[in-house]
């Protein structure tokens, strides 16, 4: 993930009053996430996110991944620990990218931003599933590039961790990797060293 809220903020300010006002508000409100709903504690020590940020991503991943309508065979994002895997992955990227990811989660959680973008004033973690989907849709289809980028960051991380899980393979008709044959014709590669 390489989005840059600072740069995008500058772009918004050039783009017009609505975008500019939105970002000024977003920048002005405290994003301490005191009201974030932590549904479940992380399964292990977090490396990048704090527990509130973890809760925000977990809540987003729960909606981005297949929902209850998929049926009981489909694991939840929580069962596959998408948030924990994302925390571990993003802890290894450039520190500033990790910092931006944390800021993104705080912006996404903000009730004020939610009110402005999707008409839903509650923090994302406290919104109803319908409101959460509407928030994701609003970011996804926004005329403001920052929100579309932010949506893509959340979507890709949730889907990467969910759909790369072997538990999902049979549900999408993927038999998984094949057995590696021992081919007599395979050259013994020269390993360096």
């Amino acid at each position: 993930m390489t989005e840059d809220p600072k740069l995008d903020r500058r772009r918004f300010l050039k783009r017009g009053v609505v975008g500019g006002a939105l970002l000024l508000l977003a920048g002005a409100v405290p994003l301490a996430l005191r009201s974030t709903l932590r549904r479940r504690a992380p399964g292990g020590p977090l490396r990048l996110l704090d527990e509130d940020e973890y809760a925000v991503f977990a809540a987003a991943a729960a909606r981005l991944a297949p929902g209850p309508g998929a049926g009981p065979r489909w694991p939840t994002a929580e069962a596959l620990d998408c948030a924990g895997k994302t925390d571990a992955l993003m802890a290894r990227v450039h520190p500033d990218v990790g910092h931006d990811f944390k800021r993104l989660l705080r912006l996404f959680e903000s009730g004020l931003v939610g009110a402005l973008v999707a008409g839903s004033p509650r923090p994302f973690t406290r919104a109803t599933p319908e409101e959460q989907d509407a928030r994701l849709e609003a970011w996804r289809r926004s005329r403001i590039a920052l929100f579309r980028s932010g949506y893509q960051a959340l979507k890709r991380l949730a889907h990467a961790t969910y759909y790369s899980s072997p538990e999902v393979y049979p549900l999408i008709g993927y038999p998984g990797p094949p057995e590696v044959p021992a081919l007599p014709g395979t050259p013994e590669a020269k390993e360096p060293g």
């Binding site: 993930m1 909606r63 590039a145 889907h159 549900l171 590696v180």
Partner: protein, 521 residues
């Protein structure tokens, strides 16, 4: 001459501070770095290759996306343009891009070489000059003729549809030997049937005495007047990817940069050296790639079989308009889920059809017209920023490509075709295709990715318009060369791996010639 074989020195085992001195320091172990290192080491020079990524072998390649993308790709699989509109698939481990590429092997098209000569001031670089180097590389990589047995269902649909429409599909030559057609080239070949640089030129370099330092991220290039002196690298902890030490590599004779078309310009910019032309990091080309999926009644199983075996170059030259060529993409769960728009159950319902999906990609040939491509910049914190605006000519090409890919799949018998706009268009007949022209297209409005990175340090004779000459030597330094895809003045119009090898081999051969006779004993 018998020389002691070189060693692989893993970053995690290096002391906190270390310094080495060799004849040549090669930064990067992909196609360019490995070929250059092999030529120079075999000429008798003492060579050290520094690689940012880890050293993995076939025993590590478990064909699981959850392991492969974080371990083997830049930014742990997260590299993208800064607006996230284009996902960048680029290798980062010993072997670089050759560890994870899809084996497609093409020589640089003559019309591209002619364009470089006519419009970009590249002199003394034509097909005849490159021919012996392509021949040598093809032999070393076991690049054979296109093989119909390599064509899986995913590629067969591209072949069948394009042939029906008279658009001349061709078999792709592949860099493999003993390929079991598993379909996991992009995650590292568990058989080493893919002839990556790790199993070929890097092995040759080590056999000739070169040393390989892994997990070393070169951050600075140090120069003195017209001489490149050394590079300074962070030695990375493999688990955290954070610095655990520092390595300084001094070069007695020269330094070869081969970090790829994003990281090489970034290294020069970060070091604030060799940027006098003002064009370092400009004109970055990526073959912006637009995918399209088709659904069939019969299983396609695009997750198995060689990822790419068929290409269509019928639209590569569209005169005044931006051209494109067509290939396929493997259809694995994670890659597919990232490409498909939407979320929740609507996204899931597409995923459930995975075995029946065919995926074609259009690779736009950028830089051949007036389009300036993208740019690479480095922030004060060292973070790389890749920008790539989709210009109107590229958008026109993308839409034309979507229409023609849809026609191909309908001709091949697809039940329906789906674009990857955020609101996908479902196409069942020619009448539906017209809707593509009006669908929103722009950053994060449609899935795009790039697996080919080029430009940013272009070749040319004019130091005000180029960074290196037509033998890879930097205009500002007598002993600094660049041997990777960044030297290409435009996109190639074909998959670049083979061209990077051949150019690097040409450059290194000329460097070695200047070294004089090989020392005895």
């Amino acid at each position: 001459m018998s020389r002691r074989p070189g060693q692989i020195l893993v970053g995690g085992e290096l002391p906190e501070l270390s310094a080495i001195e060799v004849d040549f320091v090669v930064v990067g172990s992909g196609a360019g770095g490995a070929a250059a290192a092999a030529v120079l080491a075999e000429a008798g020079a003492k060579v050290a290759v520094l690689e940012e990524g880890g050293h993995y072998t076939r025993a590590d390649f478990n064909m699981q996306e959850a392991w492969a993308y974080p371990a083997l790709y830049q930014e742990h699989g997260n590299r993208a343009t800064e607006d996230l509109a284009i996902m960048i698939l680029q290798g980062r481990s010993v072997g670089g891009g050759t560890t994870i590429n899809w084996t497609s092997s093409f020589r640089t098209p003559e019309r591209t070489l002619a364009l470089w000569s006519e419009r970009h001031g590249v002199r003394g670089l034509d097909a005849a000059t490159l021919a012996p180097h392509f021949a040598a590389v093809e032999a070393r990589l076991d690049v054979g003729p296109g093989n119909p047995d390599d064509v899986n269902n995913n590629n067969r649909k591209l072949w069948v549809g394009a042939e029906k429409l008279g658009w001349g599909p061709e078999l792709i030559r592949r860099s493999v030997k003993g390929c079991a057609r598993l379909g996991y080239c992009g995650m590292g070949c568990p058989l080493d049937a893919k002839r990556s640089s790790r199993t070929t030129y890097l092995a040759d370099a080590l056999a000739a005495g070169a040393d390989l330092y892994t997990d070393c991220r070169v951050k600075l290039l140090q120069t003195d007047r017209r001489r490149a002196r050394s590079v300074a690298a962070d030695v990375l902890d493999r688990e955290t990817d954070r610095p655990r030490g520092r390595l300084v590599a001094h070069a007695r004779r020269g330094i070869i940069l081969a970090c790829g078309a994003i990281n090489t310009p970034a290294l020069l910019l970060r070091s604030k050296v060799g940027t006098g032309s003002g064009v370092v990091g400009k004109r970055t080309f990526i073959h912006p790639s637009v995918p399209l999926v088709a659904f069939y009644d019969e299983p396609i199983e695009g997750f198995y079989g060689p990822p790419q075996s068929v290409s269509v170059h019928h639209f590569a030259d569209r005169g005044a308009r931006v051209g494109y060529f067509l290939e396929t993409s493997p259809v694995h769960p994670m890659l597919g889920a990232l490409a498909v728009p939407g979320f929740g159950d609507s996204h899931r319902k597409i995923g459930e059809r995975l075995p029946y999906v065919q995926a074609t990609i259009a690779l736009l040939v950028d830089g051949h017209h007036d389009d300036e491509g993208g740019s690479v910049a480095v922030s004060g914190d060292g973070r790389i920023r890749l920008r790539y605006p989709i210009s109107a000519p590229l958008e026109e090409a993308a839409k034309d490509a979507l229409a023609n890919m849809a026609r191909i799949q309908l001709a091949a018998g697809a039940r329906e075709v789906m674009t990857l706009h955020e609101t996908p268009l479902v196409i069942r007949s020619e009448a539906d295709i017209a809707r593509i022209a009006d669908a929103p297209f722009g950053p994060n409005r449609h899935t795009m990715f790039s697996a080919h990175q080029m430009g940013g340090c272009p070749m040319g004779e004019d130091p005000s318009r180029s960074v290196v000459d037509a033998r890879g030597r930097h205009h500002e330094f007598d002993n600094l060369w660049i041997a990777d895809g960044s030297v290409f003045p435009t996109a190639l119009g074909v998959n670049p791996q083979l061209s990077i090898y051949a150019h690097a081999r040409l450059f290194a051969t000329e460097i070695a010639r200047a070294l004089g006779p090989r020392p005895a004993g």
